[in-house]
Symmetry: none
Subunit: 216 residues, 4 copies
Amino acid sequence: MAKSKKSGTKSRSALRREREKELRRKTILNIAESLFAKQGYHRTGMEEIADMAEVSVGTVYFYFKNKEDILINLIGDVGFQLRKLVGEEFKKADASLDGIQKAGVAFFGQFCAKYPEKAAILFREAVGQSQEVEEHRKSFISKVITDLKNALERVAEKQDIKYRNTFSAEVMAVCIMGIYEQMACHYLLWNDRSEDIVALGEDAVCFTIGGVESMV
Amino acid sequence: MAKSKKSGTKSRSALRREREKELRRKTILNIAESLFAKQGYHRTGMEEIADMAEVSVGTVYFYFKNKEDILINLIGDVGFQLRKLVGEEFKKADASLDGIQKAGVAFFGQFCAKYPEKAAILFREAVGQSQEVEEHRKSFISKVITDLKNALERVAEKQDIKYRNTFSAEVMAVCIMGIYEQMACHYLLWNDRSEDIVALGEDAVCFTIGGVESMV
Amino acid sequence: MAKSKKSGTKSRSALRREREKELRRKTILNIAESLFAKQGYHRTGMEEIADMAEVSVGTVYFYFKNKEDILINLIGDVGFQLRKLVGEEFKKADASLDGIQKAGVAFFGQFCAKYPEKAAILFREAVGQSQEVEEHRKSFISKVITDLKNALERVAEKQDIKYRNTFSAEVMAVCIMGIYEQMACHYLLWNDRSEDIVALGEDAVCFTIGGVESMV
Amino acid sequence: MAKSKKSGTKSRSALRREREKELRRKTILNIAESLFAKQGYHRTGMEEIADMAEVSVGTVYFYFKNKEDILINLIGDVGFQLRKLVGEEFKKADASLDGIQKAGVAFFGQFCAKYPEKAAILFREAVGQSQEVEEHRKSFISKVITDLKNALERVAEKQDIKYRNTFSAEVMAVCIMGIYEQMACHYLLWNDRSEDIVALGEDAVCFTIGGVESMV
DNA sequence: GATGAATGAGCGTTCATTCAT
DNA sequence: TATGAATGAACGCTCATTCAT
């Protein structure tokens, strides 16, 4: 091949190009994120995204299959960040409910407060757009729920307790996810109380823990 | 006398016409509800709604300003039904947390299980469509939250207890609303477990009550 | 006939009804005139006309075949008023160019200054709307031009003079009509100088007379 | 070097593409011109324009903001051609009324006779369509009037004469414009006498000159 | 890899007109 | 005569997507 003399080893310029490629991808994604969050998914056109990212429409289509694909990638990326953030807290305090609590605090303090736009994508823009998107959103939420469920089950194991029903761990996970989401919507997206979000979140976490404990 | 324009009294035919008018409005709304729930708001065209309702496109526009207006009316109507349903349970057991519990049971048993399409409108289709729609959705959710908050505050008064913070009642209301919503999404819209919804809902309600009690 | 006992003689109520009918027709026409003049023919809907005239849409259609028919009637009515006004001046001073001058003065002083809305209909709204309307507008303008032409020919006869060509009288009539129209557009519809219109009109009339005299 | 993005110089293909772009714009404009002139602005649909120009609807919208924008561009382009044509005649004979006369002859002989469709746009289709269009039409007519006014004032200066009033030059300009317009409407748009238009125009020009002379 | 002109199906919306009451 | 709900053809316009360069 004329382009790369030796397969396996990559020339410096090839490496640079690859870096630039990845960078451009991220740029488009970031632009789309803030645009979707600000004006809504539907009100944002591909041309607008291209313009803001300082590339052509064609280039956007080189990196993403279509508009939906951008949103789906956004869900994936942002979702991953969130799971990572929350998941790490679980591990820091595995044995007890402490992990659950820490995760909640992290959600409000490290995610919502810092990246309201990401929350807007996950909890507003990615909802009800199309079946495909809904699928990915469902998948993301389900993963978080599974994470939570697993954590709750491990707590039960370690402490040798049992929840009300076999499905209680899952229900609790769903409830907790619901609390997270609604808190974010209410205090972040609808009423901008991002300054109080941490304090309010503490209360919500307290509620959460109370709920879990009552299910034993 | 032929026209019977005597003030106050309306002729039989005038009354009938009025009834038919209201009926047609309801028909369009019902058709739109099931269409939106089945295929999504965006994938449903005005012509489709008109066809299914067996009227012309113009007639749909005679009753509703535009497509958005249909969705907004749907939010209003369905929202009202839900609030009425849940609100009545509050009253049946005012003094204690019983009302909260009854309301939760009613939500899952009387609303979700019976009208999954209405839940789909409220919790999926009405999300992230436009600023105007979002406004109305916010308004609806906020009302339910206020209802819950008031109920929680009355409970505290009667039983002479105090919650953790001044804003705790509100936060709890937000949490409960979140639990409702997520349960509906998870077990109704994403995974059709409408048969188990009552049992699962019971667990969620138990979680709810536990949460509230822990906030005292 | 049950309705009118004797043909030929009309009962009082029948007369009254007829008067009311004619009145209603005039009302609709007047409303349409001011609406067309204010917002333009196309931006005015039949329902709007009906509302303002305090009748139903159906009633408007009882009096006029369709929307175009209203405009055509307006052209007819307003055109007739204008021709009458201008025509009477011709007669007051038949022998000389005085009639032409008087007619011009009347056009600016008695028509433009007093009924700018009528001028707007004739010189703006009735232009370029449809073939049918254009036909009626052409017919109206042609009549005025014929009036002018006849007047100019009578002047020539009486004073025993001849114009440059056989068609000169007609061309002059066209020119004069053009002057009227443009003056109205410029000083009435585009720049509101309705206060100066009489003075400005005098100059235009002077120009007109000069033009005619030079054609001998 | 492959892309030759050296500033200033454009590659051949880039130049060609630019030429083609401008050409396409002109094509659409020409098609629209003849369509509007033939069937009227309102009876001509965007799809029709696109079809005739052998492009897609989207392409038309790529070059023009909306339908109105096409008409406005038409007014601008045609108006510019007319002003250029007439304006050049002024200069050829600046000192005397000769320029005014030459301009009139040119209007009838070089504009009306040769491009009746352009006259139809300017004097019929662009009238009474919308406020925006009216604005542009006003602007065009006003420019011609200003041109004429300036010419008339220069004539007065050179020949050291004075008109009746301070505003006489403007009024005369308005009158002349009116004569042009009405002549075009009458003998071109309403009655097809395009063969006689030059002869008829001569008479009108004679009238014009007479009018001006009488205002001294 | 990048460009951006071109596409065209699809959409929401309007409004003059009709007609049963 | 008068009403006003119902009609539906027609329209302007959008925008995600493609592809020749």
